[in-house]
């Protein structure tokens, strides 16, 4: 999909967003100007980016960004349908996330620059986690949120990006044993800090990412050390399970109907309302699940199925599957090992996070409080998801064809 070939897709995507946003912008009370402007700006960003991108990177395919814009757009409409006041904040977060994506893609376009950023990234990540641990207040049993005035951020989301960045830089072909040892130390410190925050969901995501990174570095004795560290982290997870908050979640698991107005309240409502939505949903903004706590965050998949229909739910799941498959496809024949490792880790992380969320709310897995990438409301989550997309984008050779950092391939 290069050149003008992307135009029909972009028009379809815009039509989708205009139609879905229209459902919340136009109501019985009239037209909401603020929402209309925000959605207008969002679509404008989409178009400007695609046009600029097609000029700067002539051979790059914008398909990955389209999927990200598609999912983010759904998320914005859901936020607007539940509480219009939150739309502005979420939109600002999405814009910041998008800018992070552009910046990160520029940063890693030069391998020398990427390697130079390894240490500052690592220090910043650990520093951020330590600050979180010092300043965080208890929220749903975990100490992973920092409040600055009326804003709240979840630094562990941002650390995900640094975790993959530092991991891929340390494990790529050029690196020596010393940097590998440093990375293992970095990973262990990150995970320990997450345990101290009692953030089970994020710890699980980090654990899974660590496993992917360890797998990418195979055929070496050091892999065994990596896996051993991974196992130690698994053991630490078990220790964490002993906390009351986690025990409560695990006791609910597979028993949500036993206490459907208590501990199983959220999941039972998700299942009931999702089914009531049917194939095409009850209509955006007409659902009942939005009145339940964390409707736009943890339960957003339920809201999607109820209001937009199961079909849309399946399409969203397919989106995550395609992103992960794309990252693996690109990893084969990718120019630099750094891109390969980062892309697979990022794609895997997004898919794993989506699975934890969807299976969590539908009671296939214990609920972990993990957000659904791109769709769930949350500024930190939006920034981290968009940043992760940069890693996958970098692994696609088409991104760099004809750019000034990378030469053409001799066929």
């Amino acid at each position: 999909m290069t050149g003008a070939k992307w135009l029909p897709t972009l028009i379809l995507l815009t039509a989708f967003q205009v139609l879905s946003a229209g459902q919340v912008v136009i109501s019985k009370d009239g037209i909401s100007k603020q929402s209309a402007i925000i959605f207008g700006l969002y679509i404008a960003i989409e178009w400007i980016y695609t046009i600029v991108s097609s000029i700067v990177r002539k051979k790059a395919s914008p398909a990955l960004e389209f999927v990200a814009f598609f999912l983010t757009g759904i998320g914005l409409v859901i936020v607007a349908s539940v509480d219009e006041k939150l739309l502005k904040t979420q939109f600002v977060a999405v814009v910041i996330g998008f800018l992070c994506y552009v910046f990160l893609l520029w940063l890693i376009s030069s391998m020398d620059r990427a390697m130079a950023m390894r240490l500052p990234m690592g220090i910043a990540a650990i520093g951020l986690l330590i600050i979180t641990l010092a300043l965080a207040t208890n929220r749903n049993g975990a100490y992973n949120w920092i409040y600055i005035g009326s804003f709240s951020i979840q630094p562990s989301e941002l650390v995900k990006v640094a975790f993959i960045f530092v991991g891929a830089a340390a494990l790529e072909k050029l690196q020596s044993t010393r940097s590998l040892t440093q990375y293992i130390a970095f990973a262990v410190v990150c995970i320990i800090l997450l345990f101290l925050m009692k953030d089970l969901g994020t710890a699980l995501v980090f654990f899974f990412t660590f496993l992917i990174l360890a797998f990418m570095r195979s055929g070496d004795i050091r892999t065994i050390i990596l896996v051993c560290v991974a196992a130690a982290m698994g053991a630490a997870l078990v220790v964490l399970v002993k906390s009351d908050y986690v025990i409560r979640r695990f006791s609910t698991y597979r028993h949500i109907w036993d206490d459907m107005d208590g501990s199983g309240y959220q999941q039972t409502r998700v299942l009931i309302y999702s089914v009531s939505g049917g194939l095409f949903g009850v209509g955006i903004g007409h659902g009942k699940l939005k009145n339940i706590f964390a409707a736009t965050e943890d339960l957003v998949f339920g809201v999607l199925c109820e209001e937009w229909g199961i079909l849309m739910g399946i399409i969203v799941i397919l989106c995550f599957a395609f992103i992960a498959t794309h990252s693996i496809k690109c990893a084969i024949g990718c120019r630099y090992a750094f891109y390969t490792i980062a892309a697979v880790a990022a794609g895997g992380l997004l898919l794993f996070q989506a699975s934890l969320n969807i299976f969590g709310v539908t009671d296939f897995l214990p609920m972990t409080g993990i957000t659904l990438p791109f769709i769930s409301r949350g500024g930190s989550s939006a920034i981290s998801c968009w940043s992760l997309i940069a890693f996958i984008k970098a692994a696609d050779n088409r991104t760099w064809l004809g750019s000034r950092y990378h030469t053409e391939v001799v066929e």
Binding site: G281, W308, H326, Y336, V410
Partner: protein
């Protein structure tokens, strides 16, 4: 309003499906195979190993892109990478070091078309496919005539004393130098000035190996050299007989033994 909601309910999944369908084709395409970007030509046997990635790892480990089963090559020895400005060789903390034209690579060094790259004691010549492509008639410099006698003398079955008095020779494949052995009973190979066959190369020991005559035959023996002596890619630990066209690897230098008798 009602109508608008209904339109949204039924149209949105279909539009979404087509958006995803259009993107899916591009997403599932994956990267095209990279063409051959360069070659590593094995100086010992002339094998051309294609470099098909922007980064190619070289080492003894099976997970390396190019696996070199030499004792002197580390598990992860070096990485050859293509950048905008050219090709680079990075030594990944190997024990025996990586050399470009006898210059040791500290961390990273640029390599150009035709340069010799030595991993441990494995010698390769680097060929940049782009440079080779731009010079369609490029041919490597012909190896200078290796020995003074005509080819028939070395390949023929019957040895004629009248044609030439020389019967055995050692040819340094890297430099093309020929050393006639006939006037010697023993011949020292090494870096020291006393060596008859002197090879000034960092990975060659001062007294590396000894050639000695036993009747009509020449024998080779390693003198506890640091990097070892290899006869036809096998490291030798005791005295070995030499035969025509045997290849000796002395600290990354390929020597060919020529004889018209055996």
């Amino acid at each position: 309003m009602e109508f608008f909601t209904i339109v949204g309910r039924y149209f949105l999944p279909f539009i979404a499906f087509f958006v995803l369908l259009n993107c899916a084709f591009s997403l599932l395409k994956g990267n095209k195979k990279t063409g051959t970007l360069g070659y590593l030509v094995n100086s010992a046997n002339g094998d051309r190993i294609p470099l098909k990635g922007f980064e190619t790892s070289v080492g003894r480990s099976n997970s390396c892109d190019i696996v070199l089963s030499y004792n002197t090559v580390s598990r992860f020895h070096a990485v050859l990478s293509k950048h905008k400005k050219g090709w680079y060789v990075a030594d990944t903390n190997s024990k025996t070091g990586t050399f470009i034209n006898t210059q040791k690579v500290d961390s990273r060094a640029e390599v150009e078309n035709g340069d010799s790259i030595v991993f441990g004691n494995a010698v390769f010549r680097f060929v940049d496919a782009l440079v080779e492509q731009q010079m369609p008639h490029f041919e490597p410099e012909p190896v200078p005539k290796l020995y003074i006698a005509d080819e028939e003398f070395f390949t023929g079955d019957v040895w004629s004393d009248s044609k030439n008095s020389a019967s055995c020779a050692i040819i340094n494949d890297s430099t093309g130098e020929t050393f006639l052995l006939d006037n010697f009973q023993t011949c020292l190979i090494g870096r020291s000035s006393e060596a008859q066959i002197q090879i000034d190369f960092p990975s060659v020991s001062r007294n590396h190996a000894l050639l000695s005559r036993q009747g009509n035959r020449w024998l080779i023996e390693d003198l506890d050299s640091t990097c070892g002596t290899f006869l036809n890619s096998n490291q030798i630990y005791d005295v070995q007989k030499l035969a025509n066209d045997d290849i000796l690897d002395i600290g990354g230098n390929t020597l060919v033994f020529k004889s018209n008798r055996y």
